[in-house]
């Protein structure tokens, strides 16, 4: 591995450049989060408006086993989606990254264009394919007239298909960013030294593209945990995930403070995990 880049302490010019991002984060991330945090300690009136008091009741409710179970299930779905996205997406990113230069951008766009169709329209197209009398089962019956076909729509399988469909490009793109940087000569060299394709892959290619995989995992796993629309449409809203529960506090139950408390715990847990991972990563990189 290359040595860690020698980092410097920023001087005034760098601070100046950092200002817009810090200002943006403070204004549009910290301030709204602070508002929510205040709300999470309040009570509500009948329209769901916040009444400013101090109460820990909302937090007590968050740790009700119902919500903990839902949270665990959300993490499970997101984890499964991430694993499938890595396995299915890596070869694609590799293929695009190793393609001839004039093809790379075309392939990337080809990858993204399906996502530029409204989520709802795409989902309805999936329903046309997966429903009981849909195209998939039609195709199966065409090949094997005696087959019973699949009853996929409104099942957890359909939810996972929807999740993978929605998040796959977010795995492929960052991995592509790493693969594109790979030095072809390095692979050739490893191969010439007698390493088989598997060996080249596991000890040369994977370590070099690890940052891309890590970034992709972050970009897929994190949004997938809080996702709500796919469970509603593809899963028939039968099994609630944490995203649905938070959404419901605002758009069904009119309980903003509880919604804010759920959100605060959810984001807090995430931020803590991420911060610890960053720390561990830094220690590994620079044990001093």
């Amino acid at each position: 591995m290359k040595s860690a880049p020698d980092r410097r302490t920023p001087r005034w010019r760098a601070w100046l450049l950092l200002t817009p991002m810090i200002a943006w984060l403070v204004l549009f991330v910290v301030a709204p989060t602070a508002i929510l945090l205040v709300y999470s300690f309040c009570e509500r009136d009948e329209v769901g408006r916040v009444v400013f008091t101090f109460s820990l009741e909302n937090y007590r409710r968050v740790f009700d086993p119902i919500y903990l179970r839902i949270f665990a299930r959300s993490v499970g779905y997101a984890g499964l989606t991430t694993v499938i996205c890595i396995l299915a997406g890596y070869p694609v990113a590799y293929c695009i990254g190793r393609a001839r230069e004039e093809w790379r951008h075309r392939l990337l766009l080809l990858l993204m264009v399906p996502c530029w169709t409204s989520f709802l329209i795409r989902t309805y197209a999936w329903i046309t394919i997966l429903k009981e009398e849909g195209l998939l089962n039609g195709l199966i019956r065409l090949v094997a007239p005696t087959a019973t076909g699949f009853d996929l729509m409104y099942t957890p399988t359909a939810v996972v298909i929807g999740l993978v469909y929605a998040y796959l490009p977010f795995m492929i793109l960052p991995i592509y960013g790493s693969v594109e940087k790979l030095d072809g000569a390095l692979i050739e060299a490893a191969h010439d030294l007698g390493a088989g394709p598997l060996r080249v892959f596991s000890s040369v290619i994977i370590p070099l593209t690890l940052p891309g995989i890590a970034a992709g995992t972050l970009l897929v796993f994190v949004p997938a945990v809080g996702m709500f629309a796919i469970t509603d449409l593809m899963g028939g809203a039968r099994v609630p995930l944490i995203g649905n529960v938070i959404q419901n506090q605002f758009l069904v139950a009119r309980d903003w403070p509880f919604g804010a408390a759920l959100g605060a715990v959810f984001m807090g847990l995430f931020a803590l995990t991420y911060w610890i991972l960053l720390r561990l990563g830094a220690r590994e990189e620079d044990p001093a």
Partner: protein, 342 residues
């Protein structure tokens, strides 16, 4: 990226197109999407010269949360009765000037003094509907009369219902003969085992388009909005609409002026315009709900009036929802709990 060189002029062009010169009076309307035909609004603008800025929402709670969080400034909104009720109580609505609404006389008498607004001082009914049972009669041969006939093991995984916890719990309360607008911990405890059984049988929860699962043949029965049932009936007569014997929830969507409205005069003008029979008829043609406008009903085709989902035969006993305040959160928790226990 070289792209910017092409994008910037294109963007500037777009901005000039999207911001035409503003002149004349404007009205900010915040309404349900797909409930007011664009042609009707265009007609209003043509007649009065008032430009209508139409912003949409997809549920009462979306409307309420945006309004309560301090968003937008609207002159006319379109809440459902139980939402209007709480908005009146919270002084979020402005009283109407009835003198400016001569077309109120067109309304059917049964829609003049509704529970949420007994004096009709704040709201004007727009459209109304019910919640009932849709049966695919090609697949279901047993007679269905009420909720108890729907939620049986015979229909396990063949049922679609509205994804609205309040509705689900209300139906269970009907079957248990409990008062639906008086939700107590005791009544919730009574219906809990009922709802628990039902949740296990349901295949799809969908408030936005429950007809999709029925049309696709993924389910055979549903408890859905009458408007959905009317569309299904228009598509194929095999979809029959049945008002449940145990009790029928009714909703009335109304027009109201928020207390913060800037242009109340124009809002009154639009309400009065929407109450005109020839205008109201266009709304019925586009959206087959129950039209409360008696004069407009006279202009409807026999086929429109024959749709059992829009105009159910007989005189069924309908019950409207009242706002239940904080109990809504208990209902949500109950249903979430039962759903996630599957």
């Amino acid at each position: 990226m070289k792209l910017t060189r092409f994008l910037l002029p294109a963007l500037l062009a777009l901005f000039t197109v999207t911001n035409p010169a503003r002149a004349g009076e404007e009205l900010n309307l915040f309404g349900w999407s797909e409930y007011i035909p664009q042609g009707v609004l265009d007609g209003f603008t043509k007649e009065t010269g008032i430009k209508v800025n139409f912003e949409t929402y997809a549920s009462n709670e979306e409307l309420l949360s945006k309004l309560v969080a301090g968003g937008g400034s609207y002159d006319l909104i379109q809440p459902s009765d139980y939402t209007a009720e709480v908005m009146i109580r919270q002084k979020l609505l402005s009283p109407l000037d009835l003198a400016q609404l001569p077309n109120l006389k067109n309304l059917a008498p049964e829609f003049r003094h509704l529970d949420h607004d007994p004096d009709g001082r704040y709201t004007v009914p727009y459209m109304s509907g019910t919640v009932g049972i849709v049966v695919n009669t090609e697949r279901v041969k047993t007679p269905i009369k009420g909720y108890r006939d729907v939620f049986t093991p015979a229909f396990k995984d063949r049922i679609v219902v509205l994804a609205d916890p309040r509705e689900l719990v209300t139906w269970a309360m009907f079957t248990e003969k409990l008062p639906i607008n008086h939700v107590t911990p005791e009544s919730l405890a009574r219906v809990r085992p009922v709802v628990a059984e039902w949740v296990k049988l349901i295949k799809v929860f969908d408030s936005d388009s429950p007809k999709t699962a029925l049309l696709n043949g993924d389910v055979d029965v549903g408890v859905v909005w009458s408007g959905e049932a009317a569309i299904l009936w228009n598509e194929n007569r095999k979809f029959q609409y049945i008002l449940p014997a145990e009790g029928v929830p009714q909703f009335v969507d109304v027009l109201a002026i928020p207390a913060t409205a800037q242009n109340k005069a124009a809002a009154h003008q639009l309400i009065n315009y929407l109450l005109r029979p020839d205008v109201s008829r266009q709304i019925s043609a586009a959206f087959p709900y129950t039209n409360p406008n008696a004069e407009a009903r006279k202009l409807l085709t026999p086929e429109q009036l024959a749709n059992p989902a829009s105009y159910p035969p007989g005189h069924p006993k309908l019950t409207t929802f009242h706002d239940i305040g904080k109990a809504a959160a208990d209902i949500d928790r109950l249903v979430t709990d039962l759903k996630s226990a599957r």
